[in-house]
């Protein structure tokens, strides 16, 4: 665990050769599964009420990457989602907007048109999402297409096969290549933690992605179960906190998939607050990849303001 204290210079050094990168990643401190899960469970017991809840609900809405990633997506579906993103609660104009709308590359242009001038970003998945099983050339082209169509943010997937077989340099090079292809777009690197399985792997993959130039590290595609979990997100938050300590750089975290209720979202915000710290309570540094979460947040928000729950029919479907 001495490695984490060694600072920026030596971090540049660890990526100088495949062997060094490998030794660095394998030398990261271990994660004790029982302990990590117990810590996440304790954080889940925090009781967030009244003013704190108000703050958390509004913040969570502003952190949403409102997502549709289906084979059946159409321009019509994306236009509807964009309308929802701009005005989540038609009955209450004080409800904040979401951070971004996340779509497949071919629908980026549609989303971009709909969101023009709204301040809401368009995020596109890329790199043969969700499996990532394609050549680097195709992944680079996929990324370039998305950016050319106007994507402000690119959500790439890592090659989990390469990672699990210990070919860390290959994963690193691929992320670096996509980083370059993405240009000015914000790069989120999806680790697909449900396929990495162990927390040790999650910590290593997090560091690997940060070293290779990720702006954000993201848990999941949403296509693999389990998707985001609180302990996995905790381990990733510890990684960005330690990376910040070593380099001064802030890397974002995005849990995606499986977060459906306001209650769950608040548990994540508590974990952010008490792990990475208040700096990360910002849509620039923490996002939720979600769709149905938004309506529950809106419903709880209305409940807090009016004292009663409106039925689900009072909130729009997308």
């Amino acid at each position: 665990m001495t490695t984490l204290d060694s600072g920026v210079d030596s971090l540049a050094d660890v990526t100088s050769s495949e062997d060094r990168l490998r030794r660095f990643l394998l030398g990261l401190p271990g994660v004790d599964q029982v302990g990590a899960e117990a810590r996440a469970a304790t954080l889940s017991t925090r009781s967030i009420k009244t003013t704190a809840k108000q703050y958390a609900l509004d913040l969570a809405i502003q952190m949403i990457d409102l997502t549709t990633l289906e084979g059946q997506d159409t321009p019509g579906k994306v236009r509807a989602l964009c309308a929802k993103a701009k005005r989540p609660d038609p009955a209450d104009p004080t409800a904040p907007q979401v951070a971004a709308v996340c779509v497949y590359p071919d629908l980026v242009a549609t989303a971009k048109r709909e969101l023009q001038g709204s301040g809401i970003n368009v995020a596109s998945v890329a790199t043969a999402f969700p499996s990532g099983r394609s050549s680097l050339a195709i992944k680079v082209q996929d990324t370039k297409d998305a950016v050319a169509s106007g994507a402000d943010e690119v959500d790439m997937v890592i090659d989990r096969g390469a990672f699990l077989s210990g070919r860390y340099a290959m994963v690193f090079d691929e992320i670096a290549a996509i980083r370059e292809a993405a240009g000015d777009a914000h790069l989120k690197v999806i680790l697909e933690t449900g396929e990495l399985v162990t927390y040790d792997n999650v910590r290593r993959a997090s560091w690997l992605a940060m070293l290779a130039g990720a702006d954000f590290i993201k848990t999941s595609t949403g296509k693999v179960s389990p998707a985001a979990t609180l302990p996995v997100t905790l381990v990733m938050l510890e990684a960005v906190r330690d990376y910040h300590e070593a380099t001064g750089l802030h890397i974002g975290v995005k849990p995606a998939g499986g977060i459906r209720t306001a209650k769950d979202a608040i548990k994540y915000l508590v974990t952010v607050n008490e792990t990475a710290g208040p700096d990360w309570l910002d849509p620039e540094l923490f996002r939720f990849g979600a769709s149905s979460l938004l309506n529950d947040l809106l419903m709880q928000r209305t409940k807090l303001a009016t004292g009663h729950y409106p039925g689900p029919d009072y909130f729009t479907l997308d």
Partner: protein, 478 residues
């Protein structure tokens, strides 16, 4: 608002119904004390008087022991194990049903955070009764002979740090084994024991099987020295334990003592760092450090000392000290003015002896008994804060260079209750566990309790085991 400030989230007190005064629970009924002076129990978080409690004098204790003897002879002793189990299961279920009430009552009277009384203490209390209920009709399989028999009347004296849990540790195995009991709760925390007396009534437990006598040292002395008590069980300070051992020497009484500790929590350079920090925090700040097995001596390998200390201090900055009934409180109130004075005195001695004292910024409430989470660095084996039990949220940090040195330092104490080992290397865990002279050794965790696991100490930490099959042995003649 730019910061995530947790709004107050108090657990409601409405669920508890505290009477203005309590008698003694003898022979199934609450009775007036005849030869003691009533005393007050306060909430340590606010110094508010919660209730007036009777003090049992020698005549009252005698009455309780007689009731226990009669119940042992006539009802509980002859009863089949299967039928005893029914009562214990019933008590366990009643504890679960009343768990919220008991948790609030415990936090009010003791000062511990509701998060702990709700998520740790009370669930473990119920688990202990369930566990020992299962043993009641299987005693011949407990490994203590073919036909184990109860001692008779058990006199039990428990401390204030886990009032209801210590009650469960004492009463559940005693009743399962077929003994009847007279129990004295600590004078600063009698309320959950008195609520337990009501639960015994609710469960229709035959009169005299459980008797609760409240009071301080004088009451406890009358109980353990009573000639008709067959078995003495005590959890508390080493000094009182020593006095009890002397007083029962040469009598027919069996005795088990669970006394103080000064546990080493040992961190190796290959430890899973984030969980280790949590384990250090849990080891010393759980229950305000009022834990006999608390990891109060942190032994850190020198090669990672700076990193461990920096991370520990950062983590301590997020601990929330305050109202025990707030669901977000991590550290509650010190149990009594006397205990607070002792913690202050030993901390002052630590400073005077040259150790460096550090606490995070934290605002302490104006009323009540409070002490901030504190860490002392630059501590050596010779310092009093490294040798004496502080029994508060105060951690002493020492260093070591090799595993052998860690063992040497960990064992260099008159106590031997518990120890913790933090490393990713399994072989080292096993080697260390064999070398450490401590009754409980935790690996990559700390302060974990389970009714199936025996607990107890070496040397000045006492003798006998509680919990598990081993815990039955203390209540069976064999």
């Amino acid at each position: 608002m730019s910061r995530f400030e947790y709004a107050p989230a108090p657990e409601s007190r409405a669920i508890v119904d505290i009477k203005s005064s309590y008698g003694l629970f003898v022979n199934g009924q609450f009775i007036e004390a005849t030869d003691g002076k009533p005393f007050k129990t306060v909430s340590p978080a606010s110094e508010e008087v919660l209730a007036e409690v009777s003090e049992a004098g020698p005549a009252d204790v005698d009455k309780a022991v007689k009731a226990a003897r009669k119940a042992f002879d006539k009802v509980w002793g002859p009863m089949s194990g299967k039928d005893r189990a029914k009562y214990l299961f019933r008590i366990a279920r009643l504890i679960q049903e009343r768990s919220r009430e008991l948790a609030v009552l415990e936090s009010l009277d003791n000062g511990k955070p509701i998060r702990e009384s709700r998520d740790v203490d009370i669930p473990l209390v119920a688990a202990h009764f369930f566990y020992y209920a299962g043993w009641a009709d299987k005693l011949e399989y407990a490994g203590v002979g073919d036909d184990p028999q109860p001692w008779g009347v058990a006199g039990q004296v428990i401390p204030w740090n886990f009032p209801m849990l210590m009650l469960a540790w004492k009463i559940a195995p005693a009743l399962a084994a077929g003994n009847t009991v007279v129990l004295k709760p600590a004078e600063t925390t009698p309320l959950t024991a008195l609520a337990f007396a009501e639960i015994c009534q609710q469960a229709d437990l035959p009169p005299g099987v459980v008797n609760i006598v409240t009071g301080a040292g004088r009451t406890g002395q009358a109980l353990v020295e009573h000639p008709d008590v067959d078995k003495v069980a005590f959890t508390g300070s080493t000094d009182v334990g020593r006095a009890i051992a002397k007083s029962v020497a040469g009598t027919h009484k069996a005795v088990t003592l669970e006394l103080g500790g000064k546990a080493a929590n040992i961190v190796f350079e290959d430890a899973p760092i984030d969980q280790t920090i949590e384990g250090i925090v849990n080891g010393i700040f759980f229950n305000q450090g009022h834990v006999c097995c608390a990891g109060s001596r942190l032994l850190v390998q020198e090669s990672v000392y700076d990193e461990v200390l920096a991370r520990l201090k950062r983590r301590m900055g997020t601990l929330r000290v305050g109202d025990p009934l707030d669901k977000n409180t991590d550290i509650g109130a010190i149990n009594s003015a006397a205990q607070l004075a002792k913690i202050r005195e030993l901390s002052q001695i630590g400073e005077d002896e040259g150790a460096e004292r550090w606490s995070p910024d934290c605002e302490l409430p104006a009323n009540g008994y409070w002490f901030p989470p504190t860490v002392f660095t630059g501590v050596s084996q010779a310092h009093r804060i490294a040798r004496e039990e502080i029994f508060g949220p105060v951690l002493s940090v020492l260093t070591f260079r090799t595993p052998a040195e860690a063992v040497e330092k960990a064992n260099n104490t008159p106590f031997g209750l518990s120890a913790g080992i933090w490393t990713e290397k399994g072989s080292r865990i096993l080697w260390m566990a064999n070398q450490l002279r401590a009754g409980v050794v935790w690996a990559n965790t700390f302060n974990r309790f389970d009714p199936t696991s025996p607990f107890g100490g070496y040397k000045e930490s006492g003798y006998g085991r509680e919990g598990g099959r081993h815990g039955l042995e203390a209540y069976l003649a064999h």
